[in-house]
């Protein structure tokens, strides 16, 4: 009797264990710096999350927390996700770097993926996108289409990521139009419609008929639309609602392929740390539909440039190039290495003004 009971108990326990195994979903957490909203940086990361859900269905469970401040709040949210059983956590802002490393130390079995940072660990990988490739295409279209030869640029913060974009856009604008000038306004924000609108208006008043933005809101698009005869490019999201003009194209962040691949790696047990920096070729940087407002031959050139960046036959930073102060940066035919690009803190020759310190 007792033995039967014992056996039944054991069988039940086994049964339970099997069900538990079957239901053991891979849990993926996402920490967002802003609200998901209807466009911009966080929105695109969330599209990546939804793509992971669509790809793996019942086999994954995703959780997210939006508008998480960098610093101790992010550390708490990451810890909470790890405690709640997350297997993989994507932390999607540069400022989450040290918190990610701190939490990763406490949870060696949880994998972490930190966007745009430079600190890795056994269980912390980093990833970012070569947005500067997209900037090259923007610069080409902008330089070809400007009539006032003044291109306005709304910078967020003077950090390597943004400076790299300015340089790349400038190099390619100058290539097609040697008279082009860049006017740069620093908004000191990633997302602030009011400030961005002001910045766009100032640039347009100063004669810019192209406004490039490294900020997330559609406010510059609206300002350009109001001013008439100004063209813009969508940032992070397609911003197609402002097409075909002012928005003539866009740089789109597409994290879905990476997120799916990394989730799969965790499921298969093949995840390893590393540093991924993908561009147009791998699909991490998307170029939004180039609208009919762009002349056909410019569009064709832009698409050719895109193809050459994608297959690696052309690098956006190819010499001869000088730094702003005239010192040589790259010799004829040389291309910039990733280390230089990652820490880029100088303008190339021809850009006026100083990088604020």
């Amino acid at each position: 009797m007792t033995l039967t009971k014992l056996l039944t108990g054991a069988a039940m326990a086994l049964g339970l264990a099997t069900t538990a195994m079957a239901e053991d979903k891979t849990k993926v957490g996402f920490v967002y710096v802003g609200p998901i909203g209807d466009g911009g940086w966080t929105h695109e990361h969330d599209k990546g999350r939804l793509a992971v859900e669509a790809e793996f269905g019942d086999k994954v469970e995703t959780v997210y927390v939006e508008s998480v401040a960098e610093g101790p709040d992010s550390e708490r949210v990451m810890t909470q996700m790890a405690l709640d059983g997350a297997d993989l956590i994507f932390t999607t802002s540069f400022g989450y770097m040290d918190p990610t490393i701190n939490v990763a130390k406490k949870f060696p079995n949880v994998k972490f993926e930190h966007a745009t940072g430079y600190k890795q660990a056994e269980n912390v990988a980093t990833y970012s996108a070569r947005f500067y490739e997209g900037r090259a295409i923007q610069g080409h279209i902008a330089g070809s289409m400007t009539e006032s030869n003044i291109i306005g640029y709304i910078g967020s913060y003077p950090i390597p990521e943004v400076i790299r974009g300015i340089n790349s856009a400038f190099i390619h604008a100058r290539k097609v139009n040697p008279d082009v000038q860049f006017k740069i306004v620093w908004a000191y924000t990633w997302f602030d419609p009011a400030k961005e609108a002001d910045a766009a208006k100032v640039l347009i008043e100063q004669g810019a008929d192209v406004v490039l933005q490294h900020t997330d809101s559609t406010a510059p698009q609206a300002a350009a639309q109001e001013a008439g005869n100004v063209i813009t490019f969508g940032q992070a999201s397609d911003m197609a609602q402002y097409g075909p003009k002012p928005r003539v194209s866009s740089i789109i962040d597409d994290w879905a392929p990476y997120y799916i691949a990394r989730t799969k790696a965790v499921m298969d047990g093949t995840w390893t740390t590393g540093n991924t920096w993908d561009g147009i070729g791998a699909g991490m940087v998307g170029i939004g539909e180039i609208s009919d407002a762009v002349p056909a031959e410019v569009k064709a050139e832009a698409l050719a440039l895109k193809a050459s960046l994608a297959d690696g036959s052309y690098h956006a930073f190819t010499g001869p190039l000088n730094k702003q102060d005239g010192t040589p940066f790259l010799a004829e035919g040389d291309t910039a290495d990733d280390g230089t690009l990652a820490g880029m803190n100088f303008y190339v020759e021809g850009i006026e003004g100083d990088i604020p310190q």
């Binding site: 997210y64 927390v65 610093g71 709040d73």
Partner: protein
């Protein structure tokens, strides 16, 4: 007919009951909101209020409550002194930033030297930074009669520019590959405001907040200056007759609140945050205004209010991740708390009368 009738005396009972009623009303209407979003209301409320305190992982969340609550309490205590006297420092956020910059600046200036004198110097520098920043509106007010609300608020944005400039320039980590942000003080032993007992959340900022609560309590109930503060707020003319010097009071109230906000910033940057970064400030200076009022401008009340506010933040994040509630819903929930507090506060001075007005 329902009408409001002024009470002959403000109701003391109601004044004490308001915060509790406000919390209950917030839970109720917040529950309705969560239900409208298709979530289980009781589960959501439980996740926000119960989970951090008594849930499975409360061993982790309880210390977090201290970390989140300490700067709120420290700043709110300082603000409450001025608010009681009708002196409105709205710019604690700026003073918090300046305290952090001064404190971290002093610490980083010594890098990589180690020594026990470094941290105390950082504390002094942090307090000084916040105090100086608050002295600007204070002096402008006493010399030129400017409005301290506007000046202190505007100085927040100036401080934010300083913060950005420091993160990108002077205090930028030379080993940070050109990225913005200072060295991490958590990795610099002499400057690190670590937990006094590992994993307890008790860092020096928590201790300072406790001391501030006691200090404010004694000041307000026992000291002549506390009397001056109270009487100025309640009856400015009477204050004049009783010999209160309004200039000194403005300097004291703004100075103290700036000093405490500066300390909060310094303890935060050298401890939980670790780094001067562009986005270092997360709104403690503004949230502390809510905390001060939620705590009825009373030191003990503020202590409780700070912990409650911290609880809604921590619980709110848990609810987001476990239940998929949007951040905006959590923010509405927190906003409700202040809304109900202010709305119910009216009943301290007024009461509802039902029925027709009798004709005299």
């Amino acid at each position: 007919m329902i009408r409001l009738e002024k009470r002959p005396q403000p109701s003391r009972a109601f004044s004490l009951a308001t915060p509790v009623l406000a919390v209950i009303a917030t839970m109720f209407f917040g529950g309705l909101l969560f239900m409208a979003l298709g979530k289980e209301p009781l589960l959501a409320i439980k996740t926000i209020f119960w989970e951090p305190l008594f849930g499975e992982f409360s061993f982790f969340y309880r210390p977090q409550l201290m970390i989140k609550g300490a700067p709120l309490v420290l700043i709110a205590i300082g603000l409450s002194l001025g608010f009681k006297a009708g002196i409105w420092n709205i710019g604690a956020e700026g003073q918090y930033i300046m305290g952090a910059l001064f404190g971290a600046g002093v610490g980083l200036a010594f890098y990589p030297a180690e020594g026990h004198y470094i941290f105390p110097l950082m504390v002094l520098a942090g307090a000084f930074g916040g105090w100086v920043w608050a002295m600007i509106p204070a002096l402008l007010k006493v010399k030129f009669g400017t409005n301290e609300i506007l000046v202190s608020l505007m100085l927040v944005y100036v401080a934010e520019q300083f913060l950005a400039s420091m993160s990108l320039g002077l205090l930028k980590n030379p080993e940070g590959f050109g990225f913005p942000g200072s060295r991490n003080l958590q990795q610099y032993e002499s400057a690190f405001n670590a937990d006094l007992i590992e994993g307890s959340g008790m860092h020096w900022g928590v201790v300072a907040a406790m001391i501030a609560v006691i200090f404010a309590y004694v000041l307000l109930s026992k000291h002549r200056l506390g009397f001056a503060i109270r009487v100025t707020g309640e009856a400015p003319r009477a204050a004049k007759f009783s010999g209160v010097n309004p200039t000194r009071l403005v300097l004291f109230c703004l100075g103290t609140s700036g000093l405490l906000a500066g300390l909060a910033g310094m303890f935060e940057v050298s401890g939980p945050a670790g780094q001067v970064t562009i986005d270092f400030n997360v709104g403690y200076g503004f949230t502390a205004i809510i905390v001060a009022f939620l705590g009825r401008l009373h030191p003990i009340g503020i202590l409780l209010a700070g912990l409650l506010m911290a609880l809604t933040y921590i619980g709110g994040d848990i609810a987001q991740s476990q239940l998929g509630l949007p951040a905006a819903a959590i923010q509405v929930f927190q906003g409700m708390l202040l809304f109900f507090l202010l709305a119910l506060d009216m009943f301290t001075n007024y009461r509802l009368r039902f029925g027709r007005t009798e004709v005299a």
